[in-house]
């Protein structure tokens, strides 16, 4: 590997990482502010303009607090768990392309942590890994509430991962018809959503070529599944304050707690980014190249990406402000009896429809 290539890779990883940290800090603040607005309150308003530095202040506070280690913990696992929660959260976002690739000299710089050709599988793998952080945290704490939270986390993650994966499969099958062969690479999936549906009918030439339109049902299923996957309200049984104190992180304090907290918000953002990438075309959008200065048209895709992602992040906050927590059996019913059958049905319908379009009806 030559030096410029190494430099580009280092740049990609560092910038992606920093971007993720910055948006997470903003997300925590935005959630508090939006929840406050939805509850007729003011919300954080002290640190910085509109309280935007509140997260930084809280982070510093947590950093300098004592990290209490209860006596009955399984020490190794207890110390490892926060890392198991946070590392997959960061790795997931590394797969997401957050801007249009540009050229420096004759090297292409992709604005993405890493472009794996099995990107989607990697995402599924990592989001399953993240459950280990929660489960081990709950188990190693040696206390009943964390353990209950961990048990719930296991069941919930398994149930909703299936629906999430099936919704992804529908997208992958559909994407395969949009270009040369199938692909699991996130960058390629975005590429295939650039442009409009104009080639189907001139009426649609102003409708962006997002997977959302043909795959709307998969999008709905995916949205529900990612809310459950990130353990957010109304699926936050894992850390249900009213029942389980703090759930799996009850026994954590200081910086170790902050890592779980950070992981939760990183996950919200990465999952929203994935939803935006798979269904809303990621960074795809009109860049007006030529008529705008290069810097602006170069950064427009990133702005589109952020707008799309934040639209989904906002749905997370909105749901949290609106819905009460599901009962456990309702959670399981929704997962197994509604979402998974719905996802399977949709997969069959969309595959059959794609087959007809590709190969014609079998009897003709």
């Amino acid at each position: 590997m030559s030096w410029p290539e190494f430099g580009i890779i280092a740049f990609r990883v560092v910038v992606t990482f920093v971007l993720l940290l910055v948006v997470t800090v903003i997300n925590v603040w935005a959630e508090r502010k939006i929840l406050a607005d939805m509850q007729s309150r003011i919300g954080p308003s002290r640190a910085g303009p509109w309280g935007i530095l509140q997260t930084v202040a809280d982070g510093l506070k947590l950093f300098f607090k004592e990290s209490v280690i209860p006596r009955k913990v399984e020490l190794g696992m207890y110390l490892l768990a926060p890392f198991l929660a946070i590392i997959p959260a960061f790795l997931i976002f590394m797969m997401v392309p957050w801007g249009k690739p540009f050229m420096i000299g004759d090297h292409e710089v992709a604005l993405q942590g890493a472009d794996l050709n099995i990107g989607l599988l990697f995402i599924l793998a990592m989001s399953s890994m993240a459950v280990y952080g929660v489960v081990l945290a709950g188990w190693s704490s040696g206390s009943k509430y964390p353990l209950l939270g961990a048990v719930r986390a296991t069941a919930q993650a398994i149930s909703y991962e299936a629906a999430m994966g099936l919704a992804m499969v529908a997208v992958v099958v559909f994407t395969a018809t949009q270009g040369e062969g199938g692909t699991l690479s996130m960058a390629e999936i975005v590429e295939r959503q650039t442009g409009t549906w104009g080639d189907i009918s001139p009426v649609l030439s102003f409708v962006p070529r997002w997977n959302l339109f043909p795959q709307f049902a998969a999008f709905a299923i995916f949205l529900v599944a990612i809310v459950a996957e990130t353990n957010r309200a109304p699926f936050d049984l894992v850390e249900a304050e009213q029942e389980l104190v703090g759930g799996f992180h009850t026994e954590y304090s200081g910086m170790r707690f902050a890592m779980f907290f950070l992981a939760e918000y990183v996950n919200i953002f990465s999952m929203s980014a994935i939803a935006a990438t798979l269904f809303l075309g990621g960074w795809a959008g009109p860049t007006f190249e030529g008529s705008l200065p290069g810097l602006i048209s170069g950064s427009l895709p990133t702005i589109y990406f952020l707008i799309k992602t934040y639209a989904i992040v906002f749905i997370f906050f909105w749901l949290r402000a609106t819905l009460p927590r599901l009962r456990y059996d309702q959670l399981m019913t929704l997962g197994w009896k509604r979402l998974i059958p719905a996802a399977l049905t949709w997969l069959v319908i969309s595959t059959v429809a794609i087959g007809f379009r590709q190969f014609g009806a079998p009897w003709s």
């Binding site: 607005d37 509850q39 007729s40 309150r41 819905l323």
Partner: protein
């Protein structure tokens, strides 16, 4: 599909509230120290020991307040008045008077018990201290001076609002000394520092009140 309709209804409630809050229409909280709210007239705040208009102390050291206090946080010791130079119009006066504000629950039972309306409450509630000793208010801090001013524990604090000490809590004015409910809202006396008279609170009316000579013995 009913579920989905209800779900959208819920989203509309929160979404609508958000829009109305952003425009300031439905905002119910304030940025507290910057913007203080008008407290309700019957607010139970810090205590004050009153004086008669001639400067005599009202407290006669009877310890009824200490006896009734559910938190047992008042400590009173009476002392005989010097006949030449009395401190209070009665036989005795409150020589030691302490309230432990860390234990006080601001129930105003002491105010209710006091036979001479010596102890009343004000609208001051910013009383946090960095030290437990400071939470024990003594006679010096509680007693108003001869002109009716009330000492503040932390007069230099940025939150200190001297006006709040001059507002008497509404209980004294809302209930007649006889305790008859028919006198609620009738201003029988004004035993506290505090400017002016107040209107009856909602639900209370001076017109409803009967005169004390009627057949009501409480």
């Amino acid at each position: 599909m009913g579920v989905i309709r209800e779900f959208i209804k819920g989203l509309r409630v929160t979404g609508g509230t958000m829009l109305r809050t952003i425009t300031g229409e439905e905002l119910v909280t304030t940025e507290y120290p910057k913007e203080m709210r008008q407290k309700p007239p019957r607010f139970h705040g810090r205590h004050v020991l009153n004086r008669y208009p001639d400067g005599m102390e009202k407290c006669i050291g009877c310890e009824l307040c200490a006896g009734v206090c559910p938190a047992k946080c008042i400590f009173v010791r009476g002392m005989d008045n010097d006949p030449e130079n009395p401190t209070s119009p009665g036989e005795r006066f409150g020589f030691v008077y302490e309230i432990n504000m860390l234990r006080c629950i601001f129930c105003a039972l002491c105010v209710e018990a006091c036979p001479t309306e010596a102890i009343t409450m004000t609208h001051l509630f910013e009383m946090s201290t960095t030290n437990r000793e400071d939470a024990i208010y003594t006679r010096e801090t509680l007693l108003m001076d001869e002109k009716g001013g009330v000492p503040h524990m932390f007069p230099d604090d940025e939150l200190a609002d001297m006006d709040e000490l001059a507002v008497a809590d509404g209980w004294v004015k809302a209930t007649a000394p006889s305790g008859m409910t028919s006198y609620q809202g009738v201003k029988m006396w004004q035993g506290t520092p505090g400017p002016g008279d107040w209107d009856p609170e909602p639900g209370q009316s001076e017109l409803d009140a009967r005169s004390p000579t009627e057949d009501d013995d409480g």
